[in-house]
C-alpha cells in the first residue's frame, strides 16, 4: 500500500498534553480541520481542495425503527450485576454531606451486616456453637436454677438492635449504651474471621465493585464475534457469543443473512469455567480462529473452512493474574497475543506455545494507576503493538527488548487533552495494512505505523461513555471504510466513515491522505426497542426495562452485498446475553435536496416489520421465551409477600365443591335443547326452586371456622380454641359429611352413584357427567 503523496498539515509538539480537557458534547462538529490540495477538480487550472473532515460520505439509513432480537433468550435467568444503589450509602445525612463536594460513600456497614446474616456459620460458627447454651433469647424471666449462673438473657440486646435498624438514617441516632458495651466486650473474640481482616477484604471488594460500576474495562474488545460466510457459499455466517446464567457458555450459532438475520439449527455449545469477557476472531487461510478470554483462562477454537464443520477447541492457557486482552493474528494461523493485568505480554502460538515479550507492571509513558494492558498485531506478523492507558508501542517479537518504537503517546504529539487515556486500540488491517485505530474517552485516532506518533486522523467522537468496542467494515478501494464504536454502560453505537481513496489520474494516481467522510451516525441501542414492545404489566415492564438496559457487552457487524443492494447488519450483545440486530441500507445516489428528506429518514414504517411494531413476530417470540425462561425471576426481585397457604388451610379457602345444582340444571337444559334442535327463550331452571343454601361443613347457625379462629386469637386464647377444635372436629366432621352426602343425593335425584363422589376438582366432575349422559 502506497504512502499518501502529501499529508494534511499539522503541528507537531512533544511533551504532556497542554490543552485543558473534559468531555465536550459537541466538540466533533463543524470543523474541517485542515484542507489539502487535490481531488478530481483541479483540471480547470484552479486548485481544488479537500477537507480533512466534512467530505461527503455514503448514506446509510436504518431499515427499521428499532433493534430486534436475533436469538431467543438463553436458558437460565440473568442475574443483574450490582447497581449503584446496592453499594452506596444513602441517607439524609449523607445527601447533605454529598452536596458538599465529597465523592460517593460506600455502604460498608450494610454489606458487612449482609455477610453476618447470610453466612452466620462462617462469621461466628465455633463461638456461636459454644455459646448458644449460655444465651437466652426468650421473653420470660430466667428462673433460678443450676444453669442460671451461666446463662444470660439477650432479649433486650436484640430489641436494641432491632430498634437501631428502625432508626437507621436518623441523624440523631446514638448507640444504646448496652450495645456499645456488648460490642466492646466481644469484638475481639466473637468472630471466626478477625473483624479487621474481614473488613479490609470487604472494603477492597466494595471499592473494586464501585470502580467496575464506574468503568468496567474487563469487557474491552467485546464478547461477540461474527464469522462471515465462507467464500462462494450460501450467506450463512456464524455468531460466536457467550450465554447462560454466568455467561460461561460459548455458543457458535449459524445465522442466515436474509432480510433480517435468522438463526439456523442449534448452536455448538461449550461450557467454560469462567465468565467470558472477550471473544476475538480472525480469518487466516480460509479458517476462522476464535480466541476466548475469561479472567484466568484463555482458549482458542478453530472453525474449519468447510461448510458445516464443527468448531474445535485447540488449546487453553491459565494465567495467575487476570488477562486483560486477547487478540487473534490476522496473518498466521493459530497465533494470538495475550496480556495480563500485571503488564506481561505473550505471543501465543498453538504450535510452539507461549513466548513472553515483555513484563513491565509500570505504564509506558507516564504514571497511571490502571493495570489494564492491551496488545494487537500490526502489518508485520512478527511485530506486535502493546498498549496501556498512556499510549502504544510496537515491539518485534524476535528481539522485543531491542526493537521497538512508540506508535502513539497521550501527549502533545497527538494533540491530546489533559486526562485523556487510551481505551481501545485496534489494528485496522482489513482496511489498510498499516493503519491502526485508537480510541480514548474523548476522541478516535487513526494512526499509520509508517508515520508514528502523528495521527493521520483525529476526531472527537462525543460519546457519553468511553467506547470499549469497535468494529471495522472495510470498503472496496475508493470507497469509505466504516467503523462502529460501542460503549458498554450507555449502549451507545456510533457509525463513522473514513476514506483512504485513490484520486485517479489527475494527481498521478497516488493515494490520498486519510479523510473523515460524511457525518457520524447514531444507531439503535437495545434499550431503544422498549417502546416498540407490546404493553406490559407494570412489574413486567420494569423487569423488561432492567433487562434491555443491561450494559452492552459486545459488537459485531457485517456488510452484505446483494447486487445493487448493499446493507449492513449490526449485532449488539448485552450483559444479559441477549443479541439484538439492526439493518442499515445503503442509499446509492444522493437525491436532489428535497426539503422534507432529512426528516423522513427516521420515520419508522419503511420495513414491513414495523407496520404494527407491537405485533412484530420477533418481539413476540422473544418476549414469550423470556417469560418462560424467567418465570422464577419475580421471587428474586420483589419484596417478599406472604403466602396465603400458611395463614389459612386449604379447606378455609375452598369454594363450594363441584358445580352448583343450578348450573347442573342449566347445563342439562342446554344439552337437551341442543339435542332437540330447539331454542331457549328464557334462562330459567326447569323447576322453580329456591337457590340452594351455601354448603358448609359446620352446622348451620354456627360462625364459620375462620371467624371463630380469628375471634379466639383476638381474645388471646387461640390455643384453647385449637384444642377444642381438634377434639370436637372428629365427631363433628363425620356428622357433617354424612349430612352433606344426604343433601347431595336429594338434589341429584335420579343421578347415578358415581356422580355423588364428586371431587373438588371441577373438571373431573364434568368428565364424570359426560360419561353419565353420553
Amino acid at each position: 500500500m502506497e504512502f499518501p503523496a502529501a499529508l494534511f498539515p499539522s503541528y507537531f509538539g512533544a511533551g504532556p498534553p497542554r490543552e485543558e480537557g473534559g468531555p465536550a458534547l459537541v466538540a466533533g462538529w463543524g470543523e474541517h480541520g485542515q484542507v489539502l490540495e487535490g481531488g478530481p477538480g483541479c483540471l480547470q487550472g484552479q486548485p481544488a481542495f479537500v477537507p480533512r473532515r466534512g467530505a461527503t460520505g455514503e448514506r446509510w439509513e436504518a431499515a427499521d425503527a428499532a433493534a430486534v432480537p436475533v436469538l431467543l433468550p438463553s436458558v437460565g435467568c440473568w442475574i443483574p450485576s450490582p447497581a449503584p444503589q446496592d453499594i452506596l450509602y444513602r441517607s439524609g445525612l449523607c445527601k447533605k454531606l454529598r452536596a458538599g463536594k465529597s465523592g460517593a460513600t460506600l455502604d460498608f456497614a450494610k454489606q458487612l451486616g449482609h455477610f453476618f446474616v447470610d453466612h452466620p456459620e462462617d462469621a461466628f460458627g465455633s463461638l456461636g456453637r459454644l455459646l448458644h447454651k449460655n444465651f437466652y433469647l426468650g421473653n420470660s424471666k430466667l428462673k433460678v436454677t443450676s444453669s442460671r449462673n451461666s446463662t444470660i438473657r439477650m432479649t433486650a440486646l436484640v430489641e436494641d438492635i432491632n430498634r437501631l435498624e428502625a432508626r437507621r438514617g436518623c441523624p440523631r441516632q446514638h448507640l444504646a449504651s448496652r450495645l456499645r458495651w456488648f460490642s466492646h466486650l466481644c469484638r475481639d473474640w466473637l468472630f471466626e474471621v478477625p473483624l479487621g481482616l474481614l473488613a479490609d477484604f470487604l472494603h477492597e471488594e466494595l471499592i473494586q465493585q464501585w470502580s467496575d460500576l464506574l468503568f468496567d474495562d474487563s469487557l474491552t474488545g467485546g464478547a461477540l464475534a461474527w464469522l462471515p460466510p465462507k467464500d462462494g457459499g450460501t450467506p450463512v455466517g456464524c455468531l460466536v457469543h457467550p450465554g447462560g446464567q454466568a455467561m460461561n457458555h460459548l455458543y457458535f450459532q449459524d445465522v442466515v443473512l436474509e432480510e433480517l438475520p435468522r438463526a439456523q439449527g442449534s448452536p455448538a455449545q461449550f461450557e467454560l469455567s469462567g465468565r467470558i469477557r472477550q471473544v476475538a476472531a480472525a480469518r487466516v487461510d480460509g479458517q476462522d480462529f476464535v480466541g476466548v478470554r475469561s479472567d484466568y483462562h484463555c482458549g482458542v477454537w478453530r472453525v474449519p473452512g468447510r461448510k458445516g464443520a464443527a468448531p474445535a477447541p485447540l488449546q487453553v492457557i491459565r494465567t495467575d493474574v487476570p488477562a486483560s486482552c486477547l487478540t487473534v493474528s490476522p496473518h498466521l494461523p493459530g497465533e494470538l497475543s495475550v496480556c495480563t493485568q500485571s503488564g506481561t505480554i505473550y505471543l501465543w502460538s498453538v504450535e510452539t506455545g507461549l513466548q513472553q515479550l515483555r513484563h513491565d507492571p509500570q505504564t509506558m509513558f507516564f504514571r497511571d494507576h490502571s493495570p489494564w494492558h492491551w496488545s494487537d498485531f500490526t502489518a508485520h506478523p512478527r511485530v506486535l503493538s502493546c498498549a496501556d492507558r498512556t499510549g502504544l508501542q510496537c515491539l518485534d517479537a524476535r528481539a522485543p527488548k531491542r526493537c521497538h518504537f512508540d506508535l502513539f503517546k497521550v501527549g502533545e504529539e497527538a494533540g491530546c487533552q489533559q486526562g485523556e487515556r487510551v481505551v481501545l486500540p485496534m489494528y485496522l488491517g482489513r482496511a489498510h495494512p498499516s493503519q491502526y485505530l485508537v480510541t480514548t474517552q474523548f476522541s478516535v485516532y487513526v494512526l499509520d505505523e509508517r508515520l508514528p506518533l502523528v495521527p493521520v486522523l483525529k476526531w472527537a467522537h462525543m460519546m457519553k461513555a468511553p467506547p470499549l468496542f469497535a468494529h471495522l467494515m472495510s470498503g472496496h478501494p475508493g470507497r469509505s471504510h466504516k467503523v462502529l464504536l460501542g460503549a458498554s454502560r450507555t449502549q451507545e453505537l456510533l457509525l463513522f466513515q473514513y476514506r483512504v481513496s485513490f484520486w485517479g489520474v489527475s494527481s498521478g494516481g497516488s493515494q490520498s491522505a486519510c479523510q473523515l467522510a460524511g457525518t457520524p451516525q447514531k444507531l439503535h441501542s437495545i434499550a431503544g426497542c422498549l417502546q416498540h414492545l407490546p404493553t406490559q404489566l407494570p412489574h413486567h415492564h420494569h423487569l423488561l426495562q432492567q433487562r434491555l438496559k443491561a450494559p452492552a457487552a459486545g459488537l459485531a457487524a457485517t456488510l452484505q452485498e446483494d447486487g445493487p443492494h448493499k446493507s449492513m447488519v449490526i449485532f449488539q450483545l448485552s450483559e444479559a446475553g441477549d443479541v439484538f440486530c439492526q439493518r442499515l441500507t445503503h442509499k446509492a445516489a444522493q437525491p436532489p435536496a428535497a426539503p422534507s428528506r432529512d426528516e423522513a429518514t427516521t420515520a419508522p414504517g419503511s420495513s414491513p416489520l414495523f407496520e404494527a411494531p407491537a405485533s412484530s413476530p420477533q418481539y413476540r417470540c422473544w418476549l414469550r421465551a423470556l417469560s418462560r425462561v424467567c418465570r422464577e425471576l419475580p421471587q428474586y426481585t420483589w419484596a417478599p409477600s406472604l403466602s396465603q397457604r400458611r395463614l389459612f388451610t386449604r379447606k378455609d379457602l375452598e369454594g363450594p365443591a363441584g358445580p352448583s345444582s343450578l348450573q347442573r340444571q342449566v347445563r342439562q337444559q342446554l344439552r337437551q335443547t341442543m339435542q332437540e334442535g330447539g331454542r331457549i327463550q328464557r334462562w330459567e331452571p326447569l323447576a322453580l326452586q329456591p337457590p340452594p343454601q351455601p354448603q358448609t361443613l359446620e352446622p348451620a347457625g354456627a360462625p364459620d371456622p375462620l371467624s371463630t379462629r380469628l375471634t379466639a386469637a383476638w381474645a388471646g386464647d387461640w390455643e384453647q380454641w385449637w384444642e377444642e377444635r381438634t377434639s370436637f372436629s372428629v365427631a363433628q366432621r363425620q356428622r357433617a359429611l354424612r349430612e352433606r352426602r344426604r343433601r347431595q343425593k336429594r338434589a341429584q335425584g335420579r343421578r347415578s352413584l358415581s356422580a355423588s363422589f364428586t371431587s373438588s376438582l371441577t373438571y373431573q366432575s364434568e368428565l364424570s357427567e359426560l360419561s353419565d349422559t353420553g
Binding site: F3, P4, L7, F8, W29, E31, R398, H432, L453, V454
Partner: protein, 412 residues
C-alpha cells in the same frame, strides 16, 4: 433564589443541547436548527467554565447544520460565519481559518484569499500560544494561495514564451507573488510539524529561481531534524529532489537507506532494490536482498507481484552464480519459522494460482529455492502449471529440481 435559577437554567440548557446532539447524530438538520435557535439564549447567561463555551458550541453546531441543511446557501453560511467571528475573541482566528477552509473546498479561492488577508491583519492584545499557531497557519495558507497564483502566472508566461514574446507586467506580478509566498511558507516550515504541501511548494519556488542550495537545505532539515516527526514523505521529497538534480547515486542510495531504516515497507523500496541489484558492489547487492526481504515481511506486500519478481530475480541470480548463498541463508534464518505459513501455505497457492498466475510463478520459484521441491506451495503451483501446459512453469520445475542442493545448503 438566584442560585437555583442558575441551576435550572443550566439544566434546561443541557437538555436543549442533548436534543440538538441527538438530532445531529440522526441527521435531522431541521430539528437541530430549531433547537439551536432556542439554545442561542444561553449566550446571554453564560456562567460556564467549561472548556468549550456556548459561543463555540453555537459556532460548531451552526456550521454543521449549515453544511447539511437542504435550504442553506453559501451566502447564509458566510453571514453566519461573520457573526460567529464577532462572538468570541478567543476563537476568532480559528473561526476565520475554518471559514477559509470551507470557501476553499467550495472553490471560492478569491474569497478565501480575502478572508485570509483580513484575518492576518487582526490584532487583539497579547496572543496565546494557540492563537500564535493559528496565525502562522493563516499566513501559511495565504502563502500557499500566493504560490498557486504564482504558478498560474508562470504557466501563462511559459506558454507565451513559446510564442516568442514576453510580458513584463505578468512577469513582475509573478515575482511579487513569489516574494509573498516565499516569506510565509518559509516561516511555517521552520516549526516542527507535517508540512508536506508547504514544503513542496516552497521547494518548487526555490528550484524555479535556481536556489538549489536553499532547497536542498530545506529538504534536509525537513527530513533529518529530530524535532520533526519521522515523516516518510520528507525522505521521498528529498530523494525526488536528488534525482531531479542528477546527484550522485551514492547520495541517493544513502537517502533511500535511511528511508528503508524508518519505513521498510515503503513503496520506493522496489526502486531501491532494483538500483542496488544493478550495483557492482557486493555490499550493495547484499543490501538489496535485505531490502526486498524486509519489504515482503509486511502484510501489505503479500500479493505484490513486482516485489516477488524482484526477490525471485535476485535469488535466482545468486543460485545460478552459486555465490553468496549464505546471504540468503542469513535472511532466511529469521524468517523460516513463519514465512512458510505466511506466504507459502497450500491455501495461498490455490488462491494465487486462481487470481494471479505470474505472482504464483514468482512465489513458487522463491518457495522452491527456500523450501525445496517438496514445499506445498511449489508443488501445487508447478503441478497446476504443468497441467495447464505452460512452458515457463515446466522450466521452473526443472530449475528448482536442478538446484535442489542450494536449498539443502540454505536450510542446513
Amino acid at each position: 433564589s438566584s442560585h437555583e435559577h442558575k441551576l435550572n437554567f443550566k439544566r434546561s440548557k443541557e437538555a436543549c443541547l442533548s436534543y440538538i446532539q441527538d438530532a445531529l447524530l440522526q441527521k435531522q438538520w431541521k430539528r437541530a436548527a430549531e433547537f439551536l435557535t432556542c439554545y442561542v439564549e444561553s449566550l446571554e447567561k453564560d456562567y460556564s467554565r467549561e472548556h468549550i463555551g456556548p459561543s463555540e458550541m453555537i459556532w460548531r453546531i451552526g456550521t454543521e447544520i449549515l453544511w447539511h441543511h437542504s435550504q442553506s446557501s453559501m451566502k447564509e453560511f458566510n453571514c453566519f460565519m461573520e457573526q460567529m467571528k464577532t462572538l468570541g475573541v478567543k476563537r476568532y482566528l480559528k473561526v476565520c481559518l475554518e471559514h477559509v477552509f470551507h470557501l476553499l473546498c467550495n472553490g471560492q479561492i478569491d474569497e478565501a484569499y480575502q478572508n485570509l488577508s483580513l484575518a492576518e491583519s487582526w490584532r487583539f492584545g497579547e496572543q496565546t500560544a494557540i492563537q500564535d499557531k493559528e496565525m502562522k497557519l493563516i499566513q501559511a495558507y495565504r502563502g500557499l494561495l500566493d504560490y498557486y497564483s504564482w504558478s498560474k502566472q508562470k504557466n501563462i508566461l511559459l506558454e507565451n514564451g513559446e510564442d516568442g514574446f514576453s510580458d513584463l507586467a505578468v512577469e513582475q506580478e509573478m515575482h511579487s507573488y513569489f516574494r509573498k509566498a516565499a516569506v510565509n511558507l518559509k516561516e511555517i516550515i521552520k516549526i516542527p510539524g507535517v508540512w508536506d504541501v508547504f514544503v513542496k511548494c516552497y521547494v518548487d519556488l526555490l528550484e524555479f529561481y535556481g536556489d538549489h542550495n536553499e532547497a536542498h537545505q530545506v529538504l534536509n532539515e525537513y527530513a533529518y531534524n529530530s524535532k520533526f516527526p519521522a515523516n516518510p514523505n520528507a525522505h521521498v521529497y528529498l530523494c525526488q529532489f536528488l534525482k531531479r538534480q542528477g546527484e550522485s547515486k551514492k547520495s541517493l542510495i544513502s537517502a533511500l537507506k535511511i528511508l528503508h531504516d524508518i519505513v521498510p515497507s515503503h513503496e520506493l523500496m522496489i526502486d531501491f532494490n532494483t538500483m542496488l541489484q544493478k550495483s557492482k558492489k557486493r555490499k550493495k547487492r547484499r543490501l538489496g536482498l535485505e531490502v526486498i526481504f524486509a519489504a515482503l515481511d509486511y502484510a501489505g506486500w503479500k500479493e505484490n507481484a513486482k516485489a516477488w519478481s524482484c526477490l525471485a530475480r535476485q535469488v535466482k541470480q545468486i543460485v545460478i552464480s552459486d555465490k553468496h548463498l549464505n546471504w540468503i541463508k542469513q535472511e532466511w534464518n529469521s524468517r523460516k519459522d513463519w514465512w512458510p505459513a505466511f506466504h507459502f501455505s497450500r491455501y495461498l497457492a490455490k488462491r494465487n494460482w486462481q487470481e494471479n498466475k505470474s505472482l504464483s510463478y514468482e512465489k513458487a520459484l522463491v518457495a522452491g529455492i527456500l523450501l525445496g521441491k517438496d514445499c506445498k506451495y511449489f508443488k501445487y503451483v508447478s503441478h497446476q502449471g504443468c497441467k495447464a501446459q505452460l512452458k515457463r512453469f515446466r522450466m521452473l520445475k526443472k530449475f528448482v529440481n536442478r538446484h535442489n542442493p542450494a536449498y539443502l545448503r540454505i536450510s542446513g
